[in-house]
């Protein structure tokens, strides 16, 4: 496959991604378009805190990203002997600190919203049904498609930060202000990660069939991400709108 065709397919996939991210932003605006009580905010905050601690979008570890990194911290340094290994460990530490800080930010807001501490025992039960389905889809893809599946999962990770993009603009009460600050931090962190998911695909995919398969997997994940967003905000799932978004009937989220 020549470079120009790869570039076309990559651009098309990026545009499809941005339409799904716009769909996520639309759901966020639907929820935050009116004043929300602390309890309504706490509903999605519990899932967000769960996802920051346990969400295993990037790694298959059932303990989640933060625990996986923390557990390996001490052992990993034993391998940091060459320049490249030291750079790898430094990168791991940076990701760990970033992810942990995201957990901390939302756990702190949740405490403000509920006045209750975030207990580890309760946290385990905060995953919502649509997020469990999303996790199951990712896991199935990971198992069935291997490294190819990981690339598709990476592409969809974070949903283009649409959630944080919208969340950083909410205001009107102390909880909303704290949410906006947390979203601003996460959005800024995520921006730095950019659209490397599409670049990885461009490097790895080499035939029309592979690109079509990647598109199919990404569509499946993104559709479930939209259901997860509806569920997160306790909004009814609008399958008709999900179908429209899949068909491209939405303006893509602008590139930041």
């Amino acid at each position: 496959m020549d470079a120009q065709r790869k570039s076309e397919l990559s651009a098309s996939l990026n545009e499809m991604g941005r339409r799904f991210w716009a769909g996520e932003a639309e759901i966020c605006r639907q929820f935050w378009g009116q004043p929300r009580s602390s309890e309504e905010q706490a509903h999605w905050l519990r899932l967000q805190v769960y996802k920051e601690m346990y969400g295993s979008g990037l790694v298959g570890n059932p303990g989640g990203l933060i625990r996986a990194f923390l557990e390996e911290l001490h052992d990993q340094v034993g391998n940091a002997e060459t320049k490249e290994q030291r750079s790898d460990f430094e990168r791991s530490l940076r990701v760990l600190r970033e992810e942990y800080n995201h957990f901390k930010l939302f756990a702190d807001v949740l405490e403000t919203a509920t006045g209750q501490p975030v207990s580890n025992e309760s946290l385990k039960g905060w995953q919502l049904d649509e997020d469990k389905k999303l996790q199951a889809i990712r896991q199935r893809i990971r198992e069935q498609e291997g490294a190819f599946g990981e690339l598709a999962i990476m592409f969809t990770e974070g949903g283009g930060s649409a959630f944080f993009l919208v969340g950083r603009d909410i205001k009107g009460d102390p909880v909303s202000d704290e949410i906006a600050q947390a979203c601003e931090t996460v959005y800024t962190d995520e921006l730095e990660h950019g659209e490397h998911g599409a670049l990885d695909l461009e490097h790895e995919l080499d035939s029309e069939e592979e690109w079509a398969k990647a598109r199919e997997l990404i569509t499946e994940i993104c559709q479930q991400r939209l259901r997860m967003r509806y569920g997160m905000f306790a909004l009814p799932i609008n399958e008709a709108r999900i179908a429209e978004i899949t068909e491209g009937k939405i303006e893509p989220l602008p590139v930041a």
């Binding site: 625990r67 911290l73 030291r86 430094e90 600190r97 901390k104 756990a107 702190d108 580890n120």
Partner: protein
């Protein structure tokens, strides 16, 4: 009862004492760095500084270290994640670990080639053992004051990093050392301020000040011997006495 004015004077005296020791550590490093050396002559101190940067936070095994705290916290089910204070503490510990690793990496990259962890474990100097024994003795005498004294003297006021950062040289190796030193100096200076505030906030009697002064003198003098050994030299007891008596120019802050 000690008056506020008297406490201010005692604090100024401690700061002045600290500044003499920091300048003493800088003097040792400066004299070594300004003498003519083959690149291989730098290996000894670079390796020892790598050892210190890893051992300090416990990335090389050390009891009661930051890394041990994180590892134990995970083993206990991550209780730190359950309270705002705990979450802040964990964030702080991760930040410190990352910073120390960053410093290790700067020196290890100057050494070039693999820096074997196995080799690092055996690098403890005779003077390190003396310092460790002193720590045990001072903690046994008065744990509260010893903790404050060690916080105050931690990093030796970044004296050796100051000396590196202040180098005037065109030598490529020394330029790398200069860059690393300046970077670490800028990181370390706020830690020194933390140690000063610890004493300011916690000491209220002249008697405690005299005890902690004696501890700082003991630690500071041993640190000078350790820095000298690390740089393959010795410092005369007469010079150590002079530094203890303040007969040394304090370090001037960098202009930029």
């Amino acid at each position: 009862m000690t008056t506020t004015a008297e406490l201010t004077d005692l604090m100024a005296e401690l700061n002045s004492l600290g500044e003499s020791f920091w300048a003493g550590e800088a003097e040792i490093a400066r004299e070594f760095l300004m003498a003519a050396h083959d690149p291989k002559d730098h290996v000894h101190w670079l390796l020892h500084q790598c050892y210190r940067e890893l051992r300090g936070p416990g990335l090389l095994d050390r009891p009661s270290s930051r890394t041990r705290w994180v590892v134990d916290n995970i083993a206990a089910g991550l209780p730190a994640a359950e309270t705002a204070e705990g979450r802040t503490q964990l964030k702080y510990q991760l930040h410190q670990i990352a910073e120390e690793f960053d410093h290790f990496k700067l020196y290890a990259d100057i050494l070039g080639g693999p820096v074997k962890m196995e080799d690092m474990r055996g690098l403890s100097l005779p003077s390190d053992k003396v310092i460790e024994a002193l720590r045990v003795k001072l903690y046994a005498e008065n744990e509260r004051l010893a903790r404050l004294a060690y916080d105050f003297t931690e990093g030796g006021g970044a004296g050796i990093f100051y000396a590196q950062g202040a180098l005037e040289t065109n030598d490529p190796l020394l330029l790398r050392i200069k860059d690393a030193g300046r970077y670490i100096y800028d990181d370390e200076v706020p830690h020194g301020q933390h140690g000063v505030s610890g004493i300011e906030l916690n000491l209220t009697t002249a008697e405690d000040f005299q005890k902690i002064r004696a501890m700082i003198v003991e630690i500071g003098r041993e640190r000078l011997r350790m820095r000298a050994e690390m740089h393959d030299t010795t410092m005369s007891e007469a010079r150590i006495d002079e530094i203890t008596a303040g007969k040394i120019e304090p370090l001037k802050p960098f202009a930029d």
